[in-house]
């Protein structure tokens, strides 16, 4: 088991945002969390990556408890988050943005290898290597954010809404690349509003509703569930 989340409770002040969330991610999987706005999807990811502190509950990564580990240490353990809204560093060049992703690593040759690997997944980034991050289009920024997340050579990549604000063609391309990255050996935990698309590439899925997991199972089973169909897939 790569990631085990057990009975996680997270609060924003008095608001009980996650109410006993439990799920797990196996090595090599793509797992999706779907749910409406405010269901707690992003909160879950932010808690795993250490940006938020859970009040109770445990998060085990490779069998090690990480729920109280600070964010900067969690990156070193092999979890990398691609934050919602991309959050690339606008005044840094594409190369510098990618180098930021490798901040925790020291071996220059290995970093260069990772960069070449990112360029093989995202050839567009290579064309724009010395361009400032802020001058990229939305799709390219998403590619850059994802590439930056891969630069720390994570075993688990947390993707928060990669399709946000992108045209349908670009969404398809991004999801194709996510699958590719997964096939190269990176486990992926995906949070998406675009449930149909996310379920089509995932192995398993969990449905979150107001801070609780209400449904889980194989991605196609979840996609077939009549409740999910009416609530999230609009069919």
């Amino acid at each position: 088991m790569l990631l085990e989340v057990d009975n996680l409770n997270v609060y924003y002040g008095a608001i009980h945002a996650l109410q006993g969330v439990s799920f797990n991610v196996e090595e090599g999987e793509i797992v999706t969390l779907i749910g409406a706005n405010g269901a707690g999807k992003s909160t879950t990811l932010r808690t795993i990556s250490g940006l938020l502190q859970p009040r109770t509950g445990s998060i085990k990564f490779k069998g090690k408890e990480i729920s109280t580990t600070p964010a900067e240490q969690i990156v070193r353990l092999g979890i990398s988050q691609v934050p919602e809204g991309r959050k690339i560093f606008a005044p840094l060049t594409v190369r510098e943005n990618l180098m930021m992703g490798a901040y925790t690593r020291t071996d220059k040759n290995e970093i260069e290898q990772s960069m070449q690997l990112v360029f093989s997944s995202f050839p567009r980034l290579k064309e724009r290597i010395d361009q400032l991050g802020g001058t990229l289009s939305g799709g390219e920024q998403q590619m850059l954010a994802t590439g930056r997340g891969l630069m720390s050579k994570p075993s688990l990549l947390l993707l928060d809404e990669p399709s946000m604000g992108l045209s349908p063609i670009l969404v398809e391309e991004i999801f194709r690349i996510i699958q590719e990255i997964n096939k190269q050996g990176t486990t992926i935990l995906l949070v998406e509003q675009n449930a149909l698309m996310a379920l089509s590439i995932s192995h398993r899925a969990y449905v979150l509703e107001t801070g609780r997991i209400v449904l889980s199972g194989d991605a196609h089973e979840v996609a077939e569930n009549p409740q999910v169909k009416s609530a999230y897939l609009g069919v």
Binding site: A90, L92, D130
Partner: protein, 459 residues
Amino acid sequence: MEVGFLLGSLLKIALLLGYLYGLLRVMGHPKLWVKALGVLAAFAVIQVALTDFNGFKLLNAFDQGLLFQAATMTMVALGLNLIYGFNGQFSLGQWGFYGIGAYCAADITYRWVNGDARGFLVVGIGIILGGLAIWGIGAFLKRYRGIPVLSSFTFYILGVVAAGFLAVKLGALLNPLFAPLLGTPANPGPLASGLALQVVFFFAVIFAGAFTAEISFLFGLPVLSLGSDYFGIATLGFAIVINTLMVNSDTILPFPEMKGGRGMIGIPKLTTWFWAFFFLLVVIILMRNLIHSSTGRAIMSVREDETASRAMGINVAENKLLTFVVGCFFAGIGGAVYAHYIGFLSPGTFDFLVGFNPLIIVVFGGLGSMTGTIAASFGWVFFLEGLLRVLLSQMGTEAPTWRYVLYPITLLLLILIRPQGLLGNVEWGFLKSVKVASRQKEAGTPPTGDAPQSIQEGA
């Protein structure tokens, strides 16, 4: 007369900017011997201009003063640009740290030439012990998570105070070993003259920088966790506290030689052009190498987005503290160099209102542009002090007051016309990121497919 002077001054500013451009260009040259030769030539040009040839000097005493003032201002402003421009922490305390550096170094050398080695010994031992205490406590606290900032601050301050106490005792103990070799001002001993004095001066500057850095660490630790605006107010408060301490340095502080509000006189004038140039280069090189390192990218990414930075594995609080300490170190160095040029320190020089000058220079030159800060420091000193003061004084005794009208108007115009600052993101020669330039050539293949040309290619 006025027109001639005006043109002459403008020419001087233009020549200086050309000089800086040339210096940075040659420092960025890939060949080491060209670099060394170029830097040497740059040093020599000013050295010759400052030399007296039978009463003829290319740069008169007034210009010389401006030159040294500009060099120290560059160090202070570069430090502030690191804190504010690159890291996004709005600090108004830079001037206070500048003052700490100035008084600290001045006290060391003043005591030294007056037959008292305690300044040198106490500060030297103090910063080493204090540094060790900070490092040790830091390593100890790292083992625990979730310690409130104020608790760790208590540990640090206790450790540093203990180190300081020990340093004072040790200094008093070791002083008799040195005192006989120092002599008196009228009859300096072997350690208080010639090369030995130069070495002491060099260490006094470094000590002053390190002392300032440790003070800034203790101050920054609790205060940096405040939001940016509150941090600005706190640093302003700090500058005022420091200024008040300077005014009362002979009454509430045990430093009668600083003479409080009357000003400290008799500081040995040890800053030659060699030292000013040397420390200026050191600060520029340190700054440039820091910015173009992985830590430098981390510093900039913290300014852009703290959440994303944490997700990259950056310890944001540590990063801010490091930046603040390095920036204040530069201010301390600048202060030390200034004190030994001017030979006289008055609390009025370190008034918090004057402390806005480095801030104005940083914004004027462009936030996050090292070249902009360097150029603006030189340009600003020569414009405000050189050009306006002399030019306006020829129009009547009251006229120089007008420079504080003309100068804000200039600032306003610049902000309206070029909000990104004088130079924006442009960096000259040495300060550019070398790696990017070389990789660009290496990856010279044109982009394929239907992708539009990237805007920076070939630029």
